[in-house]
């Protein structure tokens, strides 16, 4: 009885050669090999220089200052130009009114002038 069991086990446990495509199938069913990526250790960032940190605000402030100064300068120039134009226009206006009055005077004089006296022909006859 025990001999039978022993033989049965031997038969079941005997070495069997794997099929020809066994290796290929195993390899095929293996999960893809995980790629090892090297993660570079994050280096601590270098502290920016004072100039780098302040350059943007300084540039902005300078631009604003230049804009204000330029704006003021242009406004002043515009006001000066307007004043000059206004004074010139008022001078022209007075000149025009003077010419108008001169010519109206001329008309007035011509209208008021007495008509030329006719020669006293009748008196000479007598």
């Amino acid at each position: 009885m025990s001999q039978d069991i022993e033989n049965e086990l031997r038969r079941a446990m005997r070495a069997i050669d794997p099929p020809a495509d066994f290796t290929a199938r195993v390899m095929r069913n293996l999960p893809p090999r995980a790629t090892v990526t090297a993660i570079a250790a994050a280096r601590p960032a270098a502290r920016p220089s004072l100039w780098t940190r302040l350059s943007a605000p300084v540039a902005l402030a300078a631009s604003l200052l230049v804009a204000i100064v330029l704006g003021q300068h242009m406004a002043t120039q515009q006001a000066e130009r307007q004043q000059l134009a206004g004074l010139e226009a008022s001078r022209k206006l007075m000149q025009a009114l003077r010419v108008t009055s001169q010519k109206l005077d001329l008309a007035y004089e011509a209208v008021q002038r007495p008509p030329p006296v006719a020669p006293p022909a009748e008196e000479n006859r007598s």
Binding site: Q82, Q83, A85, G86, L87, A89, S90, K92, L93, M94, Q95, A96, L97, R98, V99, T100, S101, Q102, K103, L104, D105, L106, A107, Y108, E109, A110, V111, R113, P115
Partner: protein, 193 residues
Amino acid sequence: MKWITCLATLLLAVPALGQNRGLPKGQITLPEFAQLADKASESVTVTLDPQLLGLACRFLDSSDPQQAEAQKLCTSLTGIYVRKYTFDTDYAYPKSDIDGVRKQLSGPGWSRLVEARSKKDQTDVDVYVLIDGGKARSLAIIASEPREFAIVNIVGSIDLEQLHALEGNFGVPELELETGKKPTAEKAPATKK
């Protein structure tokens, strides 16, 4: 070919008509007189459109009596145009240009207030007023002397009383102008020959 010529003429004529229509009522078209300016010993050219006239009014000195009177007058005006040329010789200017301006004043609405002709002084002075709605809307003066001619065009609601108020300031004489009434000068012009 003919229709192209006609079209070209029409295209040239339309803007020219538009220019006349574009002028405010009462404003006359003054010639350029560019050649005369070179010949003249003295010339006065004043072109004050509504914008410039407004600017001029703002810059008048109200503490000066003359300018204060002018300020009162110019607020109701919309334009002042003056051309005055003085020459060293007699009649160095073409009368045709002046006649061209005079023709514009024969249009509707214009009345000749004064027509003064002096053979002795060889002086012609015409004063025209454009009456619209019973009010003087424009004043034009054409004065020609042997060595000088002047054209004045004052556009706007002209208060003849205010113009009269300038008497003594600019020497504007009393022309016996009646405000709000159409002058009868055209019917019986104050002609002196």
